[in-house]
């Protein structure tokens, strides 16, 4: 595969691993957080973690869109999906996420018309082909997926589609990073910044990390060589006492982001005053809702949703995992009560979730690692 294989080149990886080892040798224990679930997935899928020196630890951050959706919102989604006449559309990995009583997959089995789509445009297309039905799109994700929802809504408005609406759960990446940095005892030494989100928002929004918190931040690509190079860049900053925002993923990420996408976001969405994050609690101005000019497309306006806040299950420590306070296997229910078959927390559902990624790909290391 062109443009992929080059970044999985074992020879390049070896050189970077040597460089990581050299840089790490003179340093104390370093905890680097990869913000994005795509990185978590790649790290486990390629088995990167166990190739790193012992004093370089990767902490899996909050950037898994599925993992941060609170149970109450899943309940709301199921309530909309079960409304007669509704075709409820969602990305595949939301299907198995547990609400307080069931999942969308279970709702589908009981008769709700739940369909998997690959893009919000597919959902809009369904609406246009089924004018007698109400089609709802379960919008999930960071600034990576939000522009496609925005463009779809612009299109729907232009074409006067009246049977299409969006249940927006879009969130933004900067507030949870701030929340983690403000939480006491976070122990982080630097960030591997989210690559896909940054294609949209650019690298400037992260400047507060070095400026206010004195930590290095490297926007990273998703292939093994990208991730290793980004770790080298972080360790080099730490070794030299620098803290800056650097961009390893230049082939995709412009420092100013994507103007067209940002304009579409601005046109369609506004910040919610606050939004609940699974495990992290309420974070101010961290999520997007439809502006008044798009009110008629807002599923929260169009349907009655319970809107009831559901406390995370007591046994589940997703929040601590998302903040990097504990590693997945340190959670009391990891691998026993909570497995991909019967997930308790969302981190165990998505393959980008820290727990599922570790369970599926990484738990071989447990035999070697002290629990």
């Amino acid at each position: 595969m062109r443009f992929v294989d080059e970044f999985r080149d074992p020879a390049a990886a070896r050189i970077l691993l040597e460089r990581v080892a050299e840089l790490a040798a003179g340093q104390p224990h370093r905890r680097l957080m990869e913000v994005c679930g795509g990185h978590t997935h790649a790290i486990y899928r390629h088995g990167l973690e166990q190739l790193l020196p012992e004093n370089v630890e990767l902490i899996h951050g909050p950037g898994c869109p599925v993992c941060v959706i609170p149970m109450g919102r899943v309940d709301d989604a199921i309530a909309v999906a079960e409304t007669p006449g509704v075709i409820f559309t969602t990305f595949g990995d939301m299907l198995r996420v547990p609400g307080s009583a069931s999942t969308l997959l279970e709702a589908k089995a009981k008769g709700a018309d739940v369909r998997m789509v690959y893009s919000p445009l597919d959902a809009l297309d369904l609406a246009q082909r089924n004018p007698e039905r109400e089609v709802v799109f379960f919008a999930v994700g960071f600034e990576t997926t939000a522009p496609s929802t925005a463009l779809t809504l612009q299109h729907a408005k232009r074409h006067h589609v009246t049977n299409f609406s969006v249940f927006s759960n879009h969130v933004t990446i900067v507030p949870p990073i701030k929340a983690i940095l403000d939480s006491p005892g976070h122990r982080l030494d630097g960030f591997l910044g989210p690559g896909h989100v940054s294609t949209v928002i650019g690298t400037r929004p992260y400047r507060f990390v070095p400026e206010r918190y004195g930590l290095p931040f490297v926007v990273a690509g998703f292939e093994p060589v990208d991730i290793l190079q980004s770790i080298v860049m972080l360790l080099a900053q730490l070794a030299e006492g620098r803290h800056e925002v650097e961009n390893q993923y230049r082939r995709v990420v412009p420092d100013d982001g994507n103007r067209v996408a940002l304009t579409a976001l601005e046109d369609v969405f506004e910040l919610r005053p606050h939004f609940e994050w699974r495990g992290l609690g309420f974070i101010a101005q961290s999520a997007l809702r439809l502006r008044d000019t798009y009110r008629s497309f807002d599923a929260e306006d169009r349907f009655t949703v319970p809107g009831i806040r559901v406390a995370d299950p007591k046994a589940c420590q997703c929040g601590e995992v998302l903040k990097g306070a504990i590693r997945p296997w340190e959670c009391k229910v990891f691998g026993t009560a909570c497995t991909p078959q019967t997930p308790i927390g969302t981190c165990m559902v998505s393959s980008e979730g820290a727990c599922a990624a570790f369970y599926n790909y990484g738990r071989l290391q447990l035999t070697a690692k002290p629990r």
Binding site: G38, R45, G47, Q50, L95
Partner: protein, 327 residues
Amino acid sequence: MTLAHGAGGQSSAALFDAVFAPAFANAWLDRHEDGAVLDVPAGYRLVVSTDSFVVKPRRFPGGSIGHLAVHGTVNDLAVMGAQPRWLTAAFVLEEGLAIDELSAIVADMAEAATSAGVSIVAGDTKVVERGAADGMYITTTGIGVRSLDVHLGADQVQPGDRVVVSGPIGDHGVAILMARGDLQLTGDIRSDSASVYPQAAALLAAVPDTRWLRDPTRGGLASALNELVRECGLGVWLDEPTLPVNPVVAGACELLGLDPLYIANEGKLVAIVPHDQAEAARAALGPAARVVGEVAPEPEGMVVLRTTIGGTRIVDLLVGDPLPRIC
């Protein structure tokens, strides 16, 4: 199709005479009896397997549900070390299905059966009301004969044995995904639907000590090997760089966040063979075959992948269908 075609009266007989009898014609079927009487050659035992086929779309690049209904069952017999000989076929048809489409699928089955060397010796047709079935379901039962001296099984597998696959993985699953059309992905990839009996027979002739054979269908190579390690209690180590994957399959999986190890095949074999006969096995399976890994005492009951960049990861059983990731 109407409900009358399944009612057992004149319409049923007419359907049999018009569609099934000419396509499947053989000495057993032509007798119009309630069952087929089969002769078992001396020195052989019978091997029986059954499978149901539902697929959307029913026709896709490289085959149709008709091809699958023959190859799927024939391949289950072949990996048992049997020579597939006879099939029975049961059809559940939805009211309203075009007879032309049924005839075309039946012709595919006849073609697949002829090239696989099996006769379709008995069958049944039921018609259900519109909406009660998705067009057409086919169940086939296969009967094969196996020589008394074939000893395949997970209990034969030993540490040090090698894992050989007969060709590129994931073609069938990706061809189906693309043929469904809802991904708006196109690529030049065809289902690998085929009988693996010739390859299985060649392998068993070249390497009589072959320990274990499977056709990695649903769940892909990963699931087949997980079933093996759970059965034999040993570990399997795969080497990622050696896994044969067509570029179109690799590209589609990359885009969708899927893993070719879990994608279905319908014409591939995976074999466990003694380490000193891995080359012979590879040669017997043909030019696309590869040695992709080995059996080890540890980790017990697990499949592990050595990744291209030198890491390792577990290759576990999937919980459900592979789901594409959000971003």
